[in-house]
Amino acid sequence: MFAAVILALTLLGLPLAQAHDARHHTQEQRLPKIASAPGFTLTSQDGAQVALADFRGKVVVVTFIYTSCADTCPVLTAMMAHVQDQLGHDFGVKVVFVSITVDPERDTPAALKQYADTFGADLNGWTFLTGTPGTIRDVTRQYGVFASKTASGDVDHTFLTSIIDQRGVLRVQYLGVRFNPDEFRHDLLTLLKEQ
C-alpha cells in the first residue's frame, strides 16, 4: 500500500514538477512587458501617412536616426540591415522596422528614400518616417529620446531602439548602437514564438 502511494505521488508529482519547470523556463525566456508603446502617425518615405497601429499583429522595431548623420546613425542602420537579412521570410510579414528621423526639417520623404536605398533597406518591411518638427518632438519625448540641434546643424540625439510586440506593448529597449545584434535578433524571434 505504501509503495502504491509513493508510486501514485511520483506519477502525479513528476508531470507537475516538469510542467512547473517548463513554465518557469518559458517565463524566463519571455521578455518583460514595459508599457503600451506610444502611438504615432507620421509620413513615410513614399509620402503616405503611417501609424504605429497599422503594424498591429507584427513585431515592430522603432529607432531614431537622421539621414545626414555621419558617425553613429550609419552604424545602427547598417546593423539593422544585417538583421533584416537574417530574418529572411519573417521580415515584413511578421517583423517590421520603423526608423524615425530626428531631423524633420531636412529629412523629406525623398531624403529618407535615398537613405533607405543606401543601406539596402527592404521597404516591404522597413518604413522611414518624418513629420512636422512638433510631431517628431512629441514622439521622441514619448519614447524617452533626447534630440537637439547643434550649432553645426547636426542633431545630437539618444540612440534608443525599442521592440514592440504584436499587441502594441513595449517589451525591451536597447541603448546605444553597440549592442549585440544576435541578442537583438533573438529577442525578435522570442516574440514571434509568443503568438
Partner: protein, 338 residues
Amino acid sequence: MTLPSKNWDRRQFLAGVTLAGTGLLGLDRTPAAAEPPPEMTSLRVHHSQSLCLSPQYVAEDLLRYEGFSEVQYVRPYGPGGAYQALASDEADITNDFAPMVIVQLDRGAPIVLLAGVHVGCFELFGTERIRTIRDLKGKTVGVRGLETPPHVFLASMVAHVGLDPRKDIVWATHPSEESMRLLARGEIDGFIGFPPEPQELRAKQIARVVVNSALDRPWSQYFCCMTIARREFARKYPVATKRALRAMLKATDMCALEPDRAARTIVDRGLTLRYDYAAQTMKDVVYSKWREYDPEDTLRFYALRLREAGMIKLTPNKLIADATDWRFLNELKRELKG
C-alpha cells in the same frame, strides 16, 4: 524588514504547484499585463553636489516620461542629509556612496538598496612622499569631516592594507577647497576627493594620484555609488520604485554613452559651472557596469572593510538579507539592454 525570501517556503511551493497545474490545463497562456502607471505622480530625489551622481539629474526628463509629472530635488542639509531626508519622509529615492549606505544601515536607517550605479569616483592624492596607501601611516589627510564619504572610504582603504584608521591616520577636517590648498602647499600629506575635486587637482597638477578608485583594484571591481530608496516607499509603491529606478539606470547609460550631452545637462541644471570638469567626470567615472557587476559583491567587500575599521557591527549576510531588494534591478536588466 520583510523582504522576499530567496528560499521557497511551503506556501510559495504550493502556489508553484497550482500554477503548474493550470499550465497543464492550458489556462495560463495569457501573458501578464503591461506595467501600470506609478502609484503617485510626484517623486522626491535627494540632491547631492557630487558630480558623480549626475545620472539622477540626467534622469529628470526620463522620470517625467515614467509618469512622475512632478520631480522635486530635495536640497541637502549637511553630511548624512540624504538619510535624514529619507528617514523623515522628505525624499523617496537617491544615489549615494556604498560605504556610507552601509554605515547608515548599521545605525538603522530605514532604507533599502535597489541597484549599483557606477564604479569609481574617489581619488586619493598624496604629496611626493606618499606612494602607497601604507605610506599614509602617521601622516595627515584632509577630509571634509569625520563620517563623511571621503573619511569613510579612506578608512575602509587603510583597513584593507592593514592600518588602523583610528590610530594610524591623522585626520584633518577642512572644507575640500581648503584641503586642496593645504595639499598644494605640502601642509597636509594626502587628500581624498570626489568629482569635481580630482578633476580640478589634476588640471592644476597639484600632488599625485595614489589611488584612482575607477582604475585601481580592488576598488575598481566594486560599485562606488548605489541607488537607495526609503524602505516604506519601495514596499508601498513598487511600480513607482521600478519606474524611478528605470529612469535612473537609463540615465546612467546615457552618462556612459553620451558623456558630452550628460555634462551639458548637469551644467544647464546648475550642478556645476565648469563644463570641462563635468565632461571629464563623465569620462572618468565608469557608468557602464550596472548590468555587469553584482551589487552584493560590493556590499560584502565594503561591509568587511568597515568591520575591520571598527565602523560597523553589521555582517555582510545580515546586510544583504535585510536591506536589499534586487527585484527591480533584475527585471530592468531584461528590459533595458545595451
